[in-house]
């Protein structure tokens, strides 16, 4: 967690233990939508998210937590800064034989 801390602002994300799906932390619990994530924009919030990540890792309900940089639009909408995080948010960018995977709507 600490070693991977990106530039502010960022959110805390992980994979859910049971489903493996991408989840974000809203400050109280894990949620499926980035829009509901708690955003750390200052050092105090950054420490809080980092501490939550470490505690949640120890608790074991999620896997591979890390802090992911986001951009905040004028209307408050969050966008991942790195394309990998964008794909984690969107699901596969390709069509496949089964029903589409829409994170947050599973």
């Amino acid at each position: 967690m600490d070693a991977k801390r990106p530039a502010l602002p960022f959110v805390l994300t992980a994979n859910d233990l049971l489903s493996g799906y991408t989840v974000y932390h809203d400050g109280a619990r894990w949620v499926p939508k980035l829009a509901d994530a708690l955003v750390a924009s200052d050092p105090e919030a950054a420490k809080k998210l980092n501490d939550i990540g470490l505690a949640e890792l120890a608790r074991g309900a999620i896997v591979d937590p890390y802090l992911a940089g986001v951009s905040i639009a004028a209307d408050g909408a969050l966008t991942p800064r790195h394309f990998r995080d964008a794909y984690r948010l969107s699901g596969p960018t390709i069509a496949f034989a089964g029903p589409a995977f829409v994170p947050g709507e599973q």
């Binding site: 489903s19 493996g20 394309f83 596969p92 960018t93 034989a97």
Partner: protein, 564 residues
């Protein structure tokens, strides 16, 4: 086909039961993720970018219809309705949830399948020529050897924690269709001057961030000595392979750093002092295994089929398929038929549950109940009567599986890339789809001729880009996906590694660059029979380098014609 004995059955059932307990303990918190990760990996369960992924072993790519129906059922019930055939002749499911995986393993065990040793630093699923037992050029069917190695390596206590993963491939034919030169160990079955069967043994091939072509360590190993000699190679590797650096831990690095001659000397010394009678396979057991691969009961047929020839003459679409997707069978009147899992513009290697059911039906009716998964991510129906090819093709048309592109430019290998994979640095599948769409015209593909494009979404090279006639490697550069193109790779006989053509380019620019590379080839080839790889080897890379840049665009990527 091989059938489980009581030991196979017991091992697989016990492992499934063990894993059920391990999953329960992970979910109730008794096991930490750190404790659980090696246990799930031993059962082929990865955690990928969006979900868990289960990799199921298909030993040397061989399936019957019952097994494929079960794989379809698993896709339908526990995944999102599809599976993905891999470059190790396996199948992967992209969306299982953790609690369901023990149930999936039970379903696999019901049809003599499992996910053991599809991950981890052990000897992985053994691969073989997908035309094994069928090919007219074969010295001997490689499947009994592959099965012997599978049984020997399954839960082998000495080799369960190697420095790194270990992959073995077997070909029974001089024309290598199993890519043995890019495996940790490659085995080629051959005859010596006395007419005895044995193996040419290659060690230290591989791809990844440091690619090597395997070195021949024995030109002829008598057949009966295989397991003892493999054990000596593995023992040297297990003792001396690097465990301090994951990126230098494969046997290819040991062979390279030790030197081939010195490595051979170490293996031979180990072999000389091994208690040979106790480590070689029991001849009776070898015979028992081989009996399972006895040829099926073929009909006695004329070499040519009038019905087949009439259908070819009558239907241009069928003629195109017949000219592209059939492979000579050693039995008169039969052919091995490649079902391309590369429809235009779709992910390479994906099969829906419905397609799996349909393929199972087709195999049961027209291919003596047998199918093969190829390392090129296709499916082979190995025993189709020429008289039946048109009926099979018609059934494939109904299933959307009639793409006539086996071995052609749209028969692309692509790893899952960043659409699924946690390790990827860029996406692979959209690049494959874009190239496939650009070259969709089947007549144009036939005119271009044999050309293997292989795409990896990271340096680990799961998409075999090093041995692509055109290889594409996806990386990150400056926060965006960037793709390097290599030319001149070849996976089979006379294997070679591709060389980089130049600086990386954006994904959007790839189809255009590939088109210009192909146009350059068409201009330069000596005649229509000179394949792409031969032209590249003859003329070198230099004539192809301008193809990387679109006309009117300078090397910085700015349009030369744009206003200042």
């Amino acid at each position: 086909m091989y059938r489980y004995d009581e030991f196979d059955e017991t091992i697989v059932r016990q492992r499934a039961a063990q894993f059920r307990g391990q999953v329960e303990r992970r979910i109730d918190g008794s096991l930490t993720e750190e404790e659980f990760t090696p246990l799930r990996l031993m059962n082929g369960l990865y955690l990928q970018l969006h979900a868990y992924m289960l990799r199921v072993a298909v030993p040397y790519g061989t399936l019957d219809s019952k097994q494929l129906r079960q794989l379809g059922l698993i896709a339908e019930k526990y995944d999102r309705g599809y599976g993905h055939f891999t470059t190790r002749q396996n199948i992967q499911y992209n969306w299982p949830v953790l609690k369901d995986v023990p149930d999936i393993l039970d379903l696999l065990a019901d049809v003599e399948m499992h996910a053991i040793q599809t991950s981890g630093n052990c000897i992985r699923n053994v691969t073989a020529d997908h035309f094994a037992g069928v090919a007219a050029d074969e010295v001997e069917d490689p499947r009994p050897t592959a099965e012997l190695v599978r049984q020997w390596s399954t839960l082998h206590p000495e080799f369960a924690f190697l420095p790194r993963k270990f992959k073995i491939a077997v070909t029974g034919a001089p024309d290598d269709r199993a890519a043995i030169a890019v495996h940790d160990i490659g085995l080629q079955i051959l005859r010596n001057d006395a007419g005895d069967i044995g193996y040419r043994v290659l060690v230290g091939g591989g791809m990844g961030r440091t690619p090597f072509i395997g070195k021949t360590v024995r030109q002829f190993l008598p057949k009966a000595e295989l397991l003892g000699y493999l054990e000596s190679i593995l023992r040297v590797y297990n003792l001396e392979g690097r465990r301090d650096n994951k990126y230098k831990a494969r046997v290819k690095i040991l062979v390279h750093e030790t030197g081939t001659e010195e490595f051979i000397a170490k293996v031979e010394a180990e072999y000389a002092r091994s208690p040979k009678p106790s480590v070689q396979a029991d001849p009776a057991e070898v015979e028992r295994i081989a009996a399972y691969f006895a040829p099926p009961e073929y009909d006695t047929l004329p070499a040519a089929s009038e019905a087949f020839e009439q259908a070819r003459a009558a239907d241009p679409a069928f003629e195109l398929f017949a000219a592209t997707n059939l492979f000579p069978h050693k039995i008169p009147g039969y052919t091995a038929l490649t079902v391309s899992m590369k429809p235009v513009g779709a992910p390479p290697g994906d099969a829906s549950a419905k397609q799996m059911y349909r393929l199972a039906d087709i195999a049961e009716r027209w291919s003596l109940d047998e199918l093969r998964i190829t390392h090129v991510q296709n499916v082979v129906l190995p025993h189709v009567r020429l008289d039946d090819v048109h009926a099979v093709w018609s059934a494939l048309v109904e299933a959307g599986l009639e793409t006539p592109n086996a071995g052609l430019i749209t028969d692309i290998i692509a790893c899952p890339g960043m659409d699924y994979c946690k390790l990827a640095t860029a996406r692979s599948i959209p690049i494959a789809e874009a190239i496939s769409t650009r070259f969709a015209d089947p007549v144009r593909q036939r005119d271009i001729g044999p050309l293997g494009i292989k795409i990896s979404g990271c340096i680990n090279a799961c998409g075999h880009h090093h041995v692509g006639a055109i290889g594409i490697l996806g990386l990150e550069k400056g926060g965006v996906e960037n793709y390097q193109i290599t030319l001149g790779g070849e996976p089979g006989t006379d294997a070679s590694l591709g060389e980089r053509l130049g600086a990386g380019i954006d994904g959007d620019a790839i189809p255009g660059a590939i088109e210009r590379i192909v146009d350059t080839y068409l201009d330069l080839r000596s005649d229509a029979d000179e394949p792409f790889i031969a032209t590249v080897r003859r003329v070198g890379l230099e004539p192809f380098k301008p193809a990387l840049v679109a006309p009117g665009v300078n090397v910085s990527g700015e349009s030369a014609n744009a206003p200042a």
